[in-house]
Structures are given as structure tokens and as C-alpha cells.
């Protein structure tokens, strides 16, 4: 049995080997899972609710311990959750640079808020933000640390359809600009097809389907190349498209 949770130097890929995770000696949620993500690669992680997507992501983020198996990941990682998790008592820009205490924080915060299109709200209290704005702030907070690996756990699931489309576009742009490796947990197949280089499907604790998405960027929802991949992924998820 190995207990490894090593942090490689920045730019190294994410490597998960034989990762097994149980809660309270129950059945394994992750069962000998293998996954590798290249530097700068965008991977979408699909799976049913309860299939262990968040568990994998929390382990990668260092929030859950590696009890069995090995995980290698860059030192600089960031996470965006479904909820924005902004501190309500700190103004937006202070939330963005939370934990950083050097001289340049204000400037860095403004720069990254500009990137996510939120500079006009930099002095606002988080409770006054709309759902989309709050997620933009959370993205800014993740990016200001210049992560080599960015994890997104269903970041747009609570947003309305229109806002979600805008946010997907934003993530595509930001990824192009920052070039970090991304692991996006989603249960929206179209979102995966629109954004990712690769889609993997988690089932019974392992990666069951791992398909590259080679459709050239920029992509559109209406791209006909999506159809085959969409039915393949929906099939893998046990949803049979008519």
C-alpha cells in the first residue's frame, strides 16, 4: 500500500495512480483509479451524481488525504467550487487576493478582475453580486495565483442557462490565455464538448471512458462534429439519446 501525495515542480503533469478511497470502510468510492493530465491540457470529468467526481477533485486539491495510491500534481493549484465561497465581509478585490499580503495585491486584483470582466464590481460586497458575478470573482481568485493546474467542480451548475453560456466562453478564453492544465467536473455533456481536449467518464470508481475531443477551436454548440461524441458520452453515462 502506498501513501503518496507528492507535489512536483510547476509545469509537471497531474498523475493519479491506483487511487483508492473509501469512507468509513464502506465500498470504495474511487477504486484503483488511474488518470494523467498533461501540462496545459483541458480535461472534462463526467459522471453520475455520487460517482466520486468531487472526491477525486478534493483529493487532487489536497483537501482529502491520499490513503491508498499515489497522486502527483503541480504545487500551484486552484479550485473553484459550485458555490462561490467568497467571504461576505471582504470586498470583492480583497477576496480575490485573500491570503496574499505583499504590496502589489491591489494591482494584481484589479488586473485579474478586468480579465474576468468584473472590474466595475471590485469594491462591492459579495452579497450584492449576482450568481454569475460571484462565480467570476471566484474564477479571478483562482487565477490570481497563476495555478499550473485549475480544478473546477461544477462551477456553472447553479447559474441560469444564459449566464452559463457566457461563463463557458470566459473559461475558454482564460484557459487560452493562462495555459494551465484544467480539470472541469461537469454533468453537462455539451459543456465538456465545448471546452475540453479530452472527456473522461467516471464510473464505479474508475475512468471507464476516455475520449479525445479533436474538434478545432473556437467551438460552437451547433458544431456537427459534436453529434457522434455526444451520443458516445451520453451512452457512457447510461443516457440513451433518441
Amino acid at each position: 500500500m502506498t501513501h503518496t501525495h507528492s507535489e512536483a515542480h510547476p509545469g509537471t503533469a497531474v498523475i493519479v495512480e491506483q487511487l483508492t478511497r473509501r469512507f468509513n470502510n464502506g465500498p470504495p468510492v474511487l477504486d484503483g483509479l488511474d488518470l494523467a493530465i498533461a501540462p496545459g491540457e483541458f480535461v472534462a470529468l463526467l459522471g453520475h451524481s455520487g460517482s466520486g467526481k468531487s472526491t477525486l477533485l478534493r483529493t487532487l486539491a489536497g483537501l482529502d488525504p491520499v490513503t491508498d495510491g499515489a497522486v502527483t500534481r503541480p504545487r500551484e493549484v486552484s479550485v473553484v467550487f459550485q458555490e462561490h465561497r467568497l467571504l461576505p465581509w471582504k470586498r470583492v478585490w480583497k477576496n480575490v487576493v485573500l491570503g496574499q499580503e505583499d504590496k502589489g495585491i491591489r494591482h494584481r486584483a484589479e488586473t485579474v478582475l478586468e480579465e474576468v470582466g468584473l472590474s466595475h464590481r471590485s469594491n462591492a460586497w459579495p452579497l450584492t453580486l449576482s450568481g454569475g458575478e460571484a462565480q467570476r470573482a471566484a474564477l479571478a481568485r483562482a487565477l490570481v495565483r497563476e495555478p499550473a493546474f485549475l480544478m473546477l467542480d461544477e462551477p456553472f451548475a447553479a447559474l441560469d442557462a444564459l449566464t452559463r453560456l457566457k461563463m463557458q466562453q470566459l473559461v475558454a478564453d482564460l484557459w487560452k490565455k493562462h495555459g494551465c492544465a484544467v480539470l472541469l467536473v461537469t454533468h453537462d455533456v455539451d459543456e465538456a464538448l465545448l471546452l475540453a481536449d479530452r472527456a473522461v467518464v467516471l464510473e464505479r470508481g474508475r475512468i471507464r471512458v476516455d475520449v479525445p475531443i479533436t474538434i478545432p477551436r473556437p467551438r460552437r454548440h451547433s458544431d456537427p462534429g459534436f453529434d457522434a461524441l455526444r451520443s458516445l458520452l451520453l451512452d457512457a453515462l447510461g443516457v440513451h439519446a433518441a
Binding site: 483537501l63 465561497r85 465581509w89 471582504k90 485573500l98 491570503g99 452579497l127 450584492t128 495565483r145
Partner: protein
Amino acid sequence: MSDAITLTGPYKTAEAKGKPRSLRTLVSIRRYASPIVLVCLWQAACSLGLLSTRLVASPLQIAVTGWTLVRDGTLPFNLGVSLLRAGSGLGLAISFGVTLALISGLSRIGEDVVDAPLQVLRTLPALALVPLFILWFGIGETPKILLVALGATFPIYLNLHKGIRSIDPKLVEMASTLGLSRWQTIRDVFLPGALPDFLTGLRYAVGVSWLMLVVAEQVNAESGIGHMMMDAQDFLRTDIILVGLLVYGVLGLISDQIVRFLESALLSWRPDGRKGRTA
């Protein structure tokens, strides 16, 4: 009949133009009218001899006595002594309460060691400790200040402890993914997150402080508002007693306003705090 209702601002209604001001003065007059009428009735009852001044002094008499007590320095002196006691006691209570709440709110061991005994102690009525405190600490300033401190510590502790415990664990988790140190997490997440509950506790603590002070000063003291009132009792001076009551009332009101002000100044990030600001 229509099911529709129209919601408009006051500027829209036609006849409202002249009305609001007179209406508003009417409302504010009505609010003060009944206390004023009561005071007048009280004065009348005293003047007509319906109410014995041995039991209750007349409002005029109270005003005159109050003024005399201010002029000869009795009231300012005793007020100063009382304020000092309440202030020191409350100050102690805040340091005790905050320290204990941090210990028990931020660590499991601390919770076991601190919280259980405090939960038992708080069920004791603090006033029942007066005789013991006099035995232990004599009749100087110490027992009075400690009595205030004892009473006021509990609301501070209980509310702050609850505030720390009810912080969203997701925010704490976020802080850890952002690499915040333990100290940074306490400073940026726990303390500000528990501040609303702390201020609620402070409001109660201030009220309790006055209550404890009244008792401490009336049981045994050589100065202070409570002593002034007990002294007056010996000479059947109901006017002085009522002046003391009035002072207690005003003190309570002012301190409550101070805490309210603190709340609106420190919690401006809350939606309701914002409303109060812009209004």
C-alpha cells in the same frame, strides 16, 4: 372589483403633496403625546395631593432635585463611580468572554475543557453569588467590578462561541485551499464571521452589566448611583430615588445606541446593514 393593486411611491399620489409634512408631525406628536400626558397627570395628581410625595415625588420636584444634585456635584461624582465600575466590569467580561470563546470555539480540546463547565455555571443566577462575593472580596470596588464582569461574561462567551461554531465549513475549507495559515484563517474567516454574534452578545452584556451594577451598589457601597438611591431611601427622598432611576434608564438607552451604532458601522457588508446606510 379588481384583483390588481398599484404600488407607488409617495410622490405619485395626488393629494399627498401637502399632507406628508403635517401627517408626519402629527405622528411624531402622537408618539410623544401619551408620555407627556401621563407626566402631566402625574404632576396634577401630586399637586392636588392625590398622590403622596412620600411614595412618589412629582415630576417638577424630580427635575429640581436632579438639577440640585448636578450643581452640588453629587450626581456627577456618583455617576462617574458607577460608569467606572460598569466600564471596568464590562471590559473584563469582554476579555474573559472572548478568550474563552476563542479557546473553546477553535479547538476540540478547548471545547471539552472550557465549554462544559461554563454551560453548567451559566445556569446559576449570578445575583445569587452576591453574598459569596462580599465574603471573598469584602466591600471595596473588587466585588462590584467582578460581579459585573461575571454577569456580562456569559452573554459574550455564549454568543461568540456560537458564532465561531456556526461559520460555514466551506469557507474554512476555501481558506485552506488558498493556503491561508491558521492565524490568517482566524483573522480573516473566524473573527469577522463571528462578529455579528459577538455584537449581539455585547448588547446583552451591556444590559446585564447595568443590572449587576444596580444590585452591587444597593447591597453595599459608599458611592455610585445605586448607593445614592439607597441613601435617599433612609431619608424618604423619593425624588432622589427617581432621579437615580432616570439616570439608569438614560444610561441603558445610550449604551444600547452605542452598540447599535457599532453594529451598523462594523457590519456594513450585510444586506440589512446596507439598507440602513442608504436610507
